[in-house]
């Protein structure tokens, strides 16, 4: 308690001392108070780790619900609330409401509800999710589905400015949480299935004017890359690196969208994020590596210039978007302390890179079922694709069977957590495989542009190990590239994890349980069934010196689709019909925040 007050004092002194606090300082001071949950990842590094340890491995079993809050919205609730000095900001899926809650008595300070054209909804491929707000400088930044990025007064909820970041009529929408670095707010774009060209944009926090916009594909200038200075695996990428890898003008409708999470390292002043799939899903019509789709970008946070890039899945043939979170952790790799970036890609490989130079250190499968590539060549960084699973080599109108992972990846956007105490990464995963058949489609602006049929089923059907579960929650050693332990889950684990100094790791399940496990052993210590399936991220904060754990339930998103996989009529492979029961038997729609605490 005293400790906590002291921290607030120190933090506020810091804020005062720094004088004309820039947006960066306000975020940093908010983050430095471990009683807050100031940003999607808990910190700029995206570790989702909290120093709080009141709730620990020995007492977490006594956890109780402290209070709950219904958002009144039915669609899938991804992301999680932000907590700043006694106020909680809760966001919802479309219509993208924001609630400011006084944590003291759980009264509502204000509600923001934008008027958005419902025609935005059908342009959103996979449910109308939103992954949260960003806080800085007394403002709340919300990225609405209709692509409007708005700045709200954190005290009143009044709109300060709004800027249009894309055009839903052309298929662009937004689902991502923005982040604020220094005096700029960063956001991306969704719409890879509509042929939208991805970019990272930085807007000035003061008035919403565009500072810069850097595309994922196209001419060097528009991508903010320098053929001489921007490197991939330590080598300059050369001029026209993107244009050279597309046929004709396909890059203009070539995807590489940026709907995931963004991390930041103050020391390198680099912002890290990944780009999505090249469109269409038919790889035959877009020969070449399709750069820089499926790529990790490290960009200068002031200018947007790319320092390094790394394309994980050149010439995607399976829809393995590279947008998952980048976790910045200082860990030992090969006996040496390294400043790393750890990333669990949709393609099933867990990557460890030097985040300063972009050197590739480790690339190993984090689900043993992964079969589309044998391994990643550490010299070239290229995955060694297995011909049998190449939807391009097999060609159009041919069904490529039993590819692992499925299009939703060994993991989707739901962010992992890193505990510096155990040195382990805690990763929510999918254990799902697919059949994929590409075919010709015509492009029409603003219309879906998919170009493949697919079906999905439990990985056990392919591995033949007799299992039928659809997910695992794993602990990962990013130095060795090894799974430390793995907890099978009936459904895909679609909830962002939380690791704490109390040696507890939290995650939610699609059938609605909030679970706490021992950080070292993975042993389950606590489980509680929330009102709906969990696809939100678990957060923690303190109020009046007491630790709370919070999570949004509200099933939906692409997870809801993955669940229908193999539910019916699937006679070959597994006979265990039990596992195919519809998710609807376990949970129904509805957004509710559940907040947990130890009894007084």
């Amino acid at each position: 308690m005293k400790h906590h007050l002291l921290r607030i004092l120190v933090a506020s002194c810091f804020a005062l001392l720094s004088g004309i606090a820039s947006a960066n300082d306000s975020v940093k001071s908010a983050m430095s108070n471990s009683g807050n949950w100031a940003i999607w990842g808990g910190d700029y590094a995206g570790t989702r780790y909290s120093e709080l340890d009141q709730i620990n491995a020995s007492n977490v079993k006594d956890l109780q619900v402290a209070w709950t809050f219904s958002t009144g919205v039915l669609r899938g609730h991804e992301g999680g609330p932000v907590v700043i000095d006694g106020t909680m900001f809760i966001h919802t899926p479309f219509p993208n409401k924001v609630f400011s809650i006084n944590i003291e008595d759980q009264t509502i300070n204000w509600v923001y509800e934008p008027k958005q054209d419902p025609d935005t909804i059908p342009v959103m491929c996979c449910d109308t999710v939103s992954r949260g707000v960003a806080y800085a400088d007394g403002k709340i930044f919300l990225q609405q589905a209709d692509t409007n990025l708005v700045a709200l007064d954190a005290n009143t909820g009044k709109k300060i400015w709004s800027v249009k970041n894309g055009d839903p009529k052309q298929g662009s929408t937004n689902t991502n949480a923005p982040i604020v670095i220094k005096d700029k707010v960063f956001t991306g774009i969704s719409g890879g299935e509509f042929g939208v060209r991805g970019f990272l944009a930085a807007y000035n926090t003061s008035d919403g004017s565009l500072a810069w916009k850097c595309y994922s594909t196209g001419p060097d200038g528009e991508m903010c890359v320098d053929g001489e200075k921007t490197t991939e695996l330590l080598k300059p990428i050369g001029a026209d690196s993107s244009l050279n890898t597309w046929e004709g003008d396909q890059w203009k409708i070539g995807g590489g969208t940026t709907w995931g999470w963004y991390s930041y390292d103050e020391e390198t002043n680099l912002v890290y994020y990944g780009t999505g799939n090249p469109s269409t899903w038919n790889p035959v019509v877009r020969p070449g590596d399709n750069k820089w789709s499926m790529t990790i970008f490290a960009r200068d946070a002031d200018t947007g210039m790319a320092k390094w890039v790394y394309q994980m899945t050149p010439h995607d043939e399976w829809d393995y978007d590279g947008v998952n979170e980048m976790i910045l952790a200082d860990i030992e790799v090969g006996g040496e302390m390294r400043k790393t970036l750890v990333h669990f890609d949709r393609n099933g490989f867990g990557y460890t890179l030097d985040r300063v130079t972009g050197e590739l250190l480790v690339a190993e499968k984090y689900d043993p079922a992964v079969n589309w590539a044998t391994h990643v060549d550490m010299e070239t960084g290229r995955p060694q694709v297995v011909a049998k699973y190449s939807t391009d080599q097999n060609g159009e109108d041919v069904n490529t069977e039993n590819v692992c992972p499925a299009a939703l990846g060994s993991k989707d956007q739901q962010p992992a957590a890193f505990s510096p105490k155990t040195g382990l990464f805690y990763v929510p995963t999918n254990h799902v495989c697919m059949d994929y058949e590409p075919f010709q489609v015509e492009y029409v602006a603003g219309q879906p542009y998919v170009g493949a049929t697919l079906s999905m089923f439990p990985a056990g059907k392919v591995t033949g190990d007799g299992t039928d579960h659809l997910g695992n929650f794993i602990a990962w050693d990013a130095d060795k590239g090894e799974i430390k332990w793995s907890i099978p889950e009936k459904f895909s684990v679609w909830s962002g994890a939380l690791a704490t100094a109390g040696d507890v790791v939290f995650y939610g399940t699609l059938d609605g349980h909030l679970k706490a496990v021992d950080a070292s052993s993975g042993e389950q210590l606590y489980s509680f069934k929330t009102p709906s399936g969990i696809i939100g991220n678990v957060n923690t904060y303190t109020h009046d010196g007491k630790q709370y754990v919070a999570v949004l339930s509200g099933v939906g998103g692409w997870a809801g689709i993955g669940m229908a996989a193999g539910l019916e009529g699937d006679t070959d492979g597994l006979g265990a019909v039990g596992a195919y029961k519809q998710l609807g038997k376990y949970t129904q729609l509805g957004g509710v925040l559940s907040v947990f605490a130890l009894p007084d």
């Binding site: 669609r75 899938g76 419902p118 025609d119 909804i121 059908p122 342009v123 491929c125 996979c126 449910d127 109308t128 299935e193 069904n399 059949d435 058949e437 075919f439 489609v441 015509e442 029409v444 603003g446 219309q447 879906p448 998919v450 170009g451 493949a452 049929t453 697919l454 079906s455 999905m456 099933v555 939906g556 998103g557 692409w558 809801g560 689709i561 669940m563 229908a564 996989a565 539910l567 019916e568 009529g569 699937d570 006679t571 519809q582 998710l583 729609l589």
Partner: protein, 148 residues
């Protein structure tokens, strides 16, 4: 006179009944034929999964544009209804109207597809494919072709 008139009326009346019932039953027949048109495109042999032809495969491909909402096997998702259920409730004309123009209902927004050639060119195939799914004549997912 009166009897004659009466006889005439009866004749007119009965022919009317005959006519309407004829129109009516043939409408039902047309409707039924429309709903089961897929039968010409599905072949099932004992002990192996049913096979379809290029025509119905085109319907399945058009359906790939719908999978992200209605589920990979058309049984629905948390935000769009099961089409295997819906197809039993609506006729082909309404189906085409819904797909062409979209609509906003109790569950959410169904997008319009009239500008999408990948769907509209194959609207008959799509309808037949979904009817076959809905009647349980074929399972979800990719099916082998019998015509190649």
């Amino acid at each position: 006179m009166i009897d004659k008139e009466k006889a005439l009326l009866v004749r007119i009346f009965s022919s009317l009944i005959f006519l309407t019932s004829f129109v009516f039953t043939s409408a039902i027949h047309a409707d039924e034929a429309e709903k089961t048109a897929y039968k010409d495109h599905v072949k099932c042999a004992e002990g192996e999964p049913c096979k379809i032809d290029l025509y119905l495969t085109r319907g399945y491909r058009a359906f790939s544009q719908c999978q992200v909402c209605h589920g990979l096997d058309a049984t629905g998702s948390s935000f769009a209804p099961s089409l295997t259920d819906k197809m039993q409730e609506i006729d082909k004309a309404l189906f085409i109207d819904r797909v062409e123009n979209g609509f906003k209902g109790q569950i959410g927004v169904m997008p319009p597809w009239k500008e999408n050639p990948n769907v509209m060119k194959y609207i008959d195939q799509l309808y037949d494919y979904l009817m076959a799914r809905s009647d349980g004549a074929i399972p979800g997912g990719k099916l082998k072709r019998y015509d190649r």
